[in-house]
């Protein structure tokens, strides 16, 4: 099976999408806003200094030229300096590990709790457990992450004093458990619903009946036969979920004062620090596109009915 050729074709297809996406973001940041004016806040900048800064950051050239110059630098690993002189890569070096830790905690919650709830409800379709968990997932989906986060901070951190309401700058894993749970909730609800639908559909499949007729215990059939086949859509959902996690991290990191990617990005935007913003967003878009590519490939590997063509 020509898996290699399929991968190469998908990678090639990604190139125009990548260029289009990054260009769109680049144009928005540099063409709509004026970063040099923003640096000076409310005061009008000294024209000579402004001109010098514009030249230094290539802001005096047409947008498409700026874009090409920027992309050229990126491919040599140079994301430029923030307007205060700190290299953007340095900011990324401290921010990404923290957000990665947060995301891993969230994904662990999603997978374990989501799949367990999904299996339990999927096997008891229409019973009270099923209906109440379904209603609960609907409620979880409806409450925006920033509301859940703020409420959790108020109740657990302030009112009952179980946790520190803000995370320390090093963000050790144990302080990230509650923020991770908050970040996970929305996707957890989707994983539950997806697993439930999938389990409920497959539990009526012939191969399950065959396995039971052979005399295998129900628990073994559920874990070895049913779950393995039902998890395919869930695995692929987790890949496409990267975008949701990014959006959630923006909010969660702001609430709990976690100095990760979302926090830095938000700071960059508040201070109109364009190199930081474009750098972080470019990396996030690459991560998002790669995750989607990975999902496509994984889906094709997990489900043999899908052929590479």
């Amino acid at each position: 099976m020509p898996v290699g050729r399929y991968v190469i074709r998908r990678l090639l297809q990604m190139i125009p999408v990548f260029i289009g996406t990054t260009f769109l973001i680049f144009v928005m940041v540099y063409a709509v806003g004026d970063p040099v004016n923003a640096m000076f806040g409310d005061r009008a900048p000294d024209p000579a200094t402004a001109a010098q800064l514009r030249a230094e950051f290539n802001l005096d050239k047409p947008v498409w030229q700026q874009y090409l110059l920027y992309m050229g630098h990126i491919f040599t690993g140079d994301f430029g300096n923030a307007f205060n002189g700190q290299p953007v890569t340095e900011l990324m070096g401290t921010a990404f590990p923290i957000t990665l830790r947060l995301a891993v905690i969230a994904i662990v919650f999603e997978v374990i709790v989501g799949i367990v709830l999904g299996v339990v409800t999927g096997l008891r379709r229409g019973r009270p457990v099923d209906s109440s968990v379904l209603m609960l997932t609907l409620v979880v989906i409806s409450v925006p992450t920033f509301v859940t986060g703020t409420l959790a901070q108020y109740l657990l951190g302030v009112k009952w004093g179980w946790i520190q309401p803000a995370v320390s700058p090093e963000a050790p894993a144990d302080e990230l458990i509650l923020p991770g749970l908050v970040l996970a909730l929305l996707s957890l609800a989707y994983v539950t619903r997806l697993t439930r639908t999938s389990i409920a559909e497959n539990s009526r499949a012939d191969y399950v009946r065959t396995a039971l007729a052979k005399g295998l215990p129900r628990s073994r059939v559920t874990v070895r036969h049913l779950l393995r086949n039902s998890l395919i859509p869930v695995v692929t959902f987790l890949g496409t979920d990267v975008g949701n996690l990014m959006a959630g991290a923006l909010v969660t990191e702001r609430i709990f004062n976690i100095q990760g990617v979302g926090f830095q990005l938000w700071q960059g935007i508040v201070r109109q620090n364009s190199p930081t913003v474009v750098g972080f967003v470019t990396i996030l878009v690459i991560v998002f596109l790669l995750a989607n590519l990975f999902v496509d490939l994984l889906y094709a590997v997990l489900d043999p009915r899908i052929r590479y063509a």
């Binding site: 209603m135 509301v147 703020t150 409420l151 496409t240 990014m246």
Partner: protein, 331 residues
Amino acid sequence: MAERAPGDAPVAGEPPAVGGGGGATDLASSEGEELEPGPGTSGPVPGDRPRSLWSDAWHDLRRNPVFIVSGLLILFLVVISLWPSLIATRNPLSCQLDKSLDPAAPGHWFGFDTQGCDVYTRVVYGARTSVTVGVCSTLGVALAGSVLGGLAGFFGGWWDALLSRLTDIFFGIPIMLGGLVFLSMTGSRSVWTVVAFIVLLGWPQIARIARGAVISAKQNDYVQAARALGAGNYRMLVRHILPNAVAPVIVTATIALGTYIALEATLSYLGVGLQPPTVSWGADISDASQGMQFRNAPHILLYPAAALSLTVLAFIMLGDAVRDALDPKLR
């Protein structure tokens, strides 16, 4: 080429429509079966002419408690959005600083916020903002998406290729990231700026669904027959394809409505959404969390948060019920 995963690259912050296939069906059917069919009306009378998808769906919806509850809630929200003075007599922008963070008092059931504004009045007026953003964004997204996607699906060719690449590009930007970047660069933002942004980044989702629906409708035998009988493009589209392709668009758009309301609130919370004097629940919650002011005055956090969550819940429940009623696969 490998098929895409179910959920087809959901935009960040929006639920993949497939996420909970079957959602509230069980809630509906398990309770619905106990309901006596209403006297007379459109019950399944033997010898009756077969019902269309729409009257069938309406028949299901009227018996679905989820639909009834969410429908009543939405009706209430729409009424107070149109005439907020019906239940709130004060002005949401006239505040008394000396009452800052005061708890509930007679006539001010929800207490006062940091600026000394009446929280109850602001919660009521916030509904107007949320409903306006939700409804207008959804209409815009549905209109732009179904026209562009529908035409691409119907005519195919280079227009289809161009549109598909364009949707790929837009899907590459998670909507919250895009919002943070795009909206922070615009100086002053009104409800319409936010609506325009949501339409700009939201249309590809509907366009993909409309394109797929039109392509599958186009391949039906009766459409081929109409073509063979000499029907023109306009007649084909309006008489034969549109009625059969519109259901998936309606389902996706209804669910999206709730998520757009949540999106606006989140953007306002992050400080890149609506600005004063527009009253927004998201911005009010952001003010309440500023320096954890809710520590001593939880009412400034809890009431807007409850109103926002309930509103989003109502619309998502409506979308769930509509999907169950319109999805023929669940019959």
